[in-house]
């Protein structure tokens, strides 16, 4: 194969390493953002995308009012970061294309690795399907059931897994694997 990262010139190997490092940094800060705005449990993700538990499953026939006392402490309670439909449309519009670009960049790295065709296809599929699952989980959480928050979590896990797999294989093959490689 003409495109083989094991045999690539040093500048190409360095380019791929820098790309992976940059994406790695962005993933780490992405994790920090999760801790700040969405939380680490299916319940928190469901609350973020599904909204607060509605006291009434359906709109009332006539507008109703409920009142309860509030303390200043309650105003100070940490709020759930809620993503409503408009914001989810915006998030999908902004992030899905960027996820596509990231998946494509990582897939190009995969194409240059020494892998069987089956493993390469599986990795590329993982890289693209993870964000699909991630966003599908958000939409299903919002409109079907909070249980689909697990889809978002699994999609996120798959994104992280895909990145780690590609990065580890690429670094190992580019910088540490010398046996059986013609230079």
């Amino acid at each position: 194969m003409l495109y083989d990262l094991r045999r690539a010139d040093l500048p190409i190997k360095w380019l791929v390493t820098c790309l992976l490092a940059t994406l790695g940094i962005s993933y780490v800060f992405g994790a920090l953002m999760v801790s700040l705005y969405a939380g680490f449990t299916p319940e928190r993700v469901a609350a973020t995308y599904g909204g607060r538990a509605m006291p009434m499953p359906m709109p009332p026939e006539t507008t109703m009012v409920m009142e309860h006392p509030m303390s200043m402490t309650e105003f100070a309670k940490p709020e759930v970061h809620e993503v409503d439909t408009n914001l989810l449309i915006q998030d999908t519009h902004v992030h899905v294309p960027m996820y596509g670009v990231i998946a494509a960049a990582l897939s190009l790295v995969v194409a240059g690795l020494s892998l069987s065709q089956g493993w390469a296809l599986a990795l590329i599929t993982l890289l693209f399907s993870a964000p699909w699952l991630d966003f599908a989980g958000m939409w299903l959480t919002k409109f079907v059931s909070g249980r689909f928050a697990a889809f978002t979590l699994i999609g996120g896990w798959a994104m992280g897994l895909g990145y780690v797999a590609v990065a580890a294989l690429a670094i190992q093959q580019m910088w540490f694997r010398t046996r059986g490689v013609d230079r």
Partner: protein, 184 residues
Amino acid sequence: MNLLLRGAAIAAVLHVTPAVVLVKRPDAVQTLLPGADSYLAREVHLSDPDAHRLHQLVDWSPDDGVLTFYSGKAGGTGVGALTFARVDTPHGPIEVAVGFTPQGAVRGVVVTKATVEMKAWVLEAVGAGLVERYRGLKPGDVPAGAAALAEHTGKLAVYVAGEVDKGVARALAAYGAFYNHVRA
């Protein structure tokens, strides 16, 4: 499995829009309901026709169908009410707290949240006197903060003022139509 899911969440929501708190809610409450020592949350659960009516007024109704107002009293005397209104913009959400006097006029507006991207624009708009433009407005009035700032600030501050205008318009419409006209 739970550990797996927790770990997954770390990598999961890389796209959460980063919001920054400009003014904490308790501080906004103390500013807009001065002197209050007790508070009441008034949740108005909208029927479909009322949600539609609100939508026709301001091209918006709450996603969960609930408008929440907070009223304050100082020693048993009402000092007014406030509500938090959120506006989703292409740059992320903005939240404004709009406070009303007992007579139903806007006492003040506080921009409580924005995104990292918009923070500087919000601060410029507020620094140019945006929130003072809303004082005294009553339901039925049209907020015009953006127009007032047009000559005095940069385009992005004017843009963000337009979004704050929307939040104030939503609060005015919700307050005017539902705060005093539905019995608990």
